[in-house]
Symmetry: C2
Subunit: 254 residues, 2 copies
């Protein structure tokens, strides 16, 4: 018997069988989404959740296994299970795939950041469409340059929906030290969970060339990233131009 409160999923037209652990997973996901546990917090122990949901520890365990595999939770033996965050050393810059040709992945943390622009405007159609807004709704645009070893390397436009990010200012961005996604978590309660990137090679136009200190027409990596929060809700569109003369985009295929 076990769990009369949960759906057993026996429809007629669609069998739609849903295992117990999937339902548990959904419940945990809802709590994450609702902000019941904040990034960095410990969630209740497996035994406690098992009790709460009237389920064996094994079922809870399998649910957490999947959430951990998706990097929504982090398990630490002997300590507990924690809500993942971009604020930690280990998971910092998890979405940044650019690394120096020398291979030293650590140096990305010591990038210099320069905010070129930060303004609020009515969303152009393409931006609105990507973010699931109506065109004309309020959005934030942040343009910035990242430099590695004094060399400007990334020029990017970051587009954010105006509603969830109400109150974001250039000075907040300038003063903050850690990763931008960590700021989003602590100040706006928005956690980026996954992202899609589309990459092309393009020639630098004169504006980009000036910012990145390369000749007009120099080849640059164009990286368009759409980042999502919980539940596949798009929350950020980022359009970057990367110099790749001393860096490369690294990708693991498996």
């Amino acid at each position: 018997m076990g769990l009369p409160a949960l759906a057993d999923g026996q429809g007629v037209a669609t069998p739609a069988f849903s295992p117990l652990y999937q339902q548990i997973k959904s419940l945990i996901l809802q709590s994450l989404q609702a902000g019941e546990w904040k990034p960095g917090d410990a969630i209740p122990s497996e035994m406690e959740l098992a009790g709460r949901f009237r389920v064996s520890q094994g079922a809870v365990r399998k649910a957490i296994d999947e959430l951990a595999a998706e990097h929504l939770l982090v398990r630490r033996q002997g300590k507990g299970t924690f809500v993942a965050t971009h604020a930690e050393q280990h998971t910092q810059f998890r979405f940044l795939r650019l690394e120096p040709d020398s291979g030293d992945r650590a140096s990305v943390g010591s990038a210099q950041r320069h905010i070129v622009q930060c303004r609020r405007l009515r969303a152009p159609v393409d931006i609105a469409h990507a973010l699931g807004l109506r065109s004309g709704e309020s959005v934030l645009q942040v343009r910035r340059v990242l430099s590695f070893q004094q060399q400007p390397t990334i020029l990017e436009d970051i587009w954010l929906p105006g509603g969830p990010f109400k109150g974001l200012t250039a000075s907040a961005l300038t003063q903050d030290q850690g990763p931008m996604y960590a700021l989003f978590e602590s100040q706006f309660g928005v956690r980026m969970v996954r992202a899609d990137e589309k990459i092309k090679a393009v020639a630098a136009d004169s504006a980009a060339a000036a910012q990145l200190q390369v000749p007009d027409g120099a080849p640059l990596l164009s990286v368009e990233r759409l980042a999502y929060t919980y539940n596949d809700v798009p929350m950020e569109l980022r359009r970057g131009l990367y110099r790749t003369d001393h860096h490369h985009y690294h990708n693991q295929l498996s």
Copy 2:
């Protein structure tokens, strides 16, 4: 007690505790490596393996879970567990991240292939180093062009160690229809398991420009892929130039 034949891992200086299922995983991996089960074959059932290794089904299950997560095995409910292969519709071109801007991922299967060159030579230092060979050892170089909708889009050099790929000829490559990695499996017993890619934006030199029918200096995506078989042994170095005017490199971050 369960398994006296397996290491219990209790050293003195290094505890080096290794769970049972990890040891099972290693044993299965060895069988895969040794070619005891070929790509596409069914491996023994979980119960049978549990009996063979003197272990519970759960331990075998967890080992297979991990191998399936790494795409080395594929589970099919009601049928069995199978050795993964590049020869199937579903997993074909798993390592090719280029897709048309229109989004139609299916069209990559209908690419036209043209072998420009296929020769055997003594490995240049950089190639030898990447493939873990001594410089001067025999390697195969294959240069080819892939076209989508009549438009040449990818120009690539493929470097293979001469030993494992003895007997590979241009005509074999030309006549073959399916994915190249499927040919490697069936003809040479080499299965590509994972790969690393390093991506840059470059300007087309005149040779590349001619092959890809773009102007000299046009921006191209440079994709260098190092592909590995079982046990992290490098088996292929691929250097590609991608046109990205109508296609993009798609990457999922999570």
